[in-house]
């Protein structure tokens, strides 16, 4: 009975190891090591804290772009949930359909990437 929970434990272990590695190990191994005053500030993740956002408290337009791209790719994943629940019952057909769907989403992704939608500046 407990045997059937083994894969779950296995995945949890892999996930935990990945999380520990990417937080602790990866940065130390691969990240650039430059220190400046802003990084030692209390919060704001290394960005100079300013009393107000630029432009009189308005949020820069760049955030809207990020938000829009996030929404569209986020919601596409909604179709993966019904698929994930029943993919074993639906067989090859559903797999092929899902691959086609993901290719379609990737076409949009490729467009955004090539047109600089993922660059901050």
């Amino acid at each position: 009975m407990s045997y059937s929970y083994a894969p779950l434990l296995f995945f949890a272990a892999i996930g935990a190891a990945f999380a520990v590695f990417s937080v602790v190990g990866a940065g130390a191994l691969a990240g650039p090591k430059r220190y400046n005053r802003a990084k030692l500030e209390a919060y704001e993740c290394g960005i100079q804290p300013t009393p107000q956002a630029r432009g009189g408290g308005r949020i820069p337009i760049k955030y809207y772009l990020t938000a829009m791209l996030f929404i569209i790719f986020d919601i596409e994943s909604v179709f993966l949930y019904p698929f994930a629940v029943a993919f074993d019952k639906m067989g090859l057909f559903a797999l092929v359909e899902m691959v086609l769907f993901i290719i379609t989403v990737f076409v949009a992704y490729a467009y955004v990437w090539r047109r600089g939608g993922l660059e901050w500046d």
């Binding site: 029943a86 639906m90 067989g91 057909f93 076409v107 490729a110 467009y111 090539r114 047109r115």
Partner: protein, 537 residues
């Protein structure tokens, strides 16, 4: 609280061959996005325009092949042929294949207009960089460097794919998805004009807010009908109505709300208020595309919903359609008289035409199955939209050619004396206007005749009388423009007709040819529409 048991899954049997026109269009649109991502900037215009045109031609050929190989369905006695594909989601029947073919041809003509570059001095009529603020250095630099948004081609392809899906949807969910797939690209296309960008952006915002509002109402209507019938497919809704199982209140509410959503798309009064603003603000090539293709797809969907799914409740919706038809004809014909902008005037003209089409819709004449010279309401509406679509694209193509230093000269006063400047262009415009007015020997006359006959046979004769009176009122302002073009003296330096490239000339020629041909020998197309038969159930 038990979970609903999912039925055993069966892989749907998709008839890829029969759905090939749709699949080709969506495939080409996707390839267009890939081209946009990876092709070098200098080549994009050529690749995109050729890709779009080739895709439309191939899709049209496959549509003809599908239509010529479709057997009559089991219900041949009803005069319908073709079948319902994709697990009941899409009806590939005679009217659907007819609408697909016409949509593809009219889109092909519109794409020629979209691809026109000579009128703007080597660039398309779409904003070089939509994100640059109007009147800034960034905008001038973009246009000096010859940057242009070739995304318009994939957007048009997505729009026409959505229209095809919308016109052939056989359940409400597919219909809603089709509605949005063609609306969203159109909202964007409306805001992409190179000249007068403030107006263009304003048109896009108005179209978007009102369009989204109407589709939200449409969704709620679908929810109500689903609550009534317990299913989305049209046949099930029809069964539920004829067996009177559900709650009548839900049906009436759902029917009303869905009607609002669909009547918005065909721009029937009182849901027409977006039409003049959007038609005036949008780039003229897109206005031409919308006036021909959106209207055809939306009418096909409107008729399919109300005849196939809600046909059993005809006594409930027919009186409302009567009233809407009268208001629409009156609003379109009367307000058009006061217009001073040619694009706005053509927008009110399109509202009036919607009213004329609604008379046949209200008549709901089934036709006779025996081959006679009668056409049913559906066939008359389809024929009318073919005739109107080509005249309308031609008229907007002429609008793109009459220009002054600031772009298109759309104010009517600038059109005075156009006949002296360019008799050919003014003559073509006069032909289109006469067709809109319904003068004999133009397509406008034969199509009005077909629609009014169907309405009369269906018992909507008071509507026909109103329609004839309104046609006379409408004829007044069409004739007024013709008089203005040929018998008035130019004001100031007068209008100039810029010589376009082959593309726009071809569009005007095709528009004029179809307008005359359908006026003189309407039989082939009328026969084709009659051969398309009725909706499959």
């Amino acid at each position: 609280m038990t979970l609903l048991a999912a039925p055993a899954f069966q892989a749907p049997n998709l008839a890829y061959g029969r759905l090939s026109p749709l699949l080709i269009i969506f495939g080409v649109a996707l390839v267009g996005v890939v081209v946009e991502a990876f092709a070098p900037r200098e080549l994009r215009y050529q690749i995109q325009s050729l890709l779009a045109l080739a895709g439309l031609v191939v899709a049209f050929i496959s549509d003809v092949l599908v239509a010529s190989s479709s057997p009559f369905s089991s219900s041949a006695g009803t005069g319908a042929f073709g079948g319902i594909e994709a697990q009941g989601a899409i009806a590939v029947d005679g009217p659907a294949m007819f609408v697909w073919g016409i949509l593809l041809v009219m889109t092909l003509v519109s794409v020629l207009l979209v691809a026109e570059r000579r009128l703007e001095g080597g660039l398309t009529a779409f904003a070089g960089q939509a994100s640059a603020l109007p009147g800034t250095e960034a905008e001038r630099e973009a246009s000096a460097r010859g940057i242009e948004h070739t995304e318009v081609f994939p957007l048009v392809m997505f729009a026409v794919g959505g229209m095809m899906l919308f016109a052939s949807a056989n359940d409400f969910l597919t219909m809603f998805v089709g509605l949005e797939v063609f609306s969203l690209p159109l909202y964007l296309l409306c805001g992409l004009a190179r000249r007068r960008r403030l107006i263009s952006q304003e048109a896009a915002m108005k179209y978007f807010l009102l369009g989204a509002f109407s589709s939200a109402i449409f969704v709620y209507g679908i929810a109500m009908v689903y609550g009534f019938a317990g299913s989305f497919t049209f046949a099930d809704v029809d069964n539920a109505i004829s067996s009177r199982v559900g709650a009548d209140g839900l049906l009436l509410l759902g029917m009303g709300l869905m009607g609002v959503g669909l009547l918005f798309k065909v721009s029937a009064a009182p849901f027409h208020s977006w039409t003049p603003d959007v038609y005036q603000g949008a780039p003229t090539a897109i206005t031409a595309f919308m006036s021909a293709c959106t209207k055809l797809a939306a009418f096909a969907a409107l008729l399919r919903v109300f005849y196939v799914a809600l046909g059993g409740a005809r006594w409930d919706w027919q009186p409302v359609v009567w009233i809407v038809a009268i208001i629409t004809m009156a609003v379109g014909s009367v307000i058009a008289i006061t217009q001073t902008d040619i694009k706005r005037l053509l927008a009110y003209s399109t509202i009036a035409h919607t009213g004329f089409l609604l008379t046949a819709f209200a008549g709901a004449y089934q036709g006779t199955i025996v081959l006679t010279n009668q056409v049913s309401s559906l066939q008359a509406v389809l024929f009318y939209l073919v005739a109107y679509g080509f005249s309308s694209i031609g008229a907007f193509a002429v609008v793109t050619m009459v220009r002054d230093s600031s772009g298109e000269a759309t104010h009517l006063s600038r059109w005075a004396g156009l006949g002296k400047e360019s008799p050919v262009v003014a003559g073509a415009m006069a032909l289109f206007l006469l067709s809109f007015a319904g003068i004999p020997l133009t397509s406008g006359f034969t199509s009005k005749w077909a629609v009014f006959t169907a309405a009369w046979e269906g018992g909507a004769w008071p509507l026909v009388i109103v329609a004839v009176v309104m046609s006379l009122v409408a004829a007044f302002f069409y004739i007024r423009i013709i008089v203005l073009m040929f018998f008035s003296d130019p004001v100031g330096e007068g209008p100039t007709v810029v010589l376009p490239s082959m593309l726009t000339s071809a569009v005007v020629t095709v528009g004029a040819a179809v307008t005359i041909l359908l006026g003189v020998v309407p039989q082939p197309v009328l026969e084709l529409a009659r051969h398309a038969g009725e909706f499959v159930r």
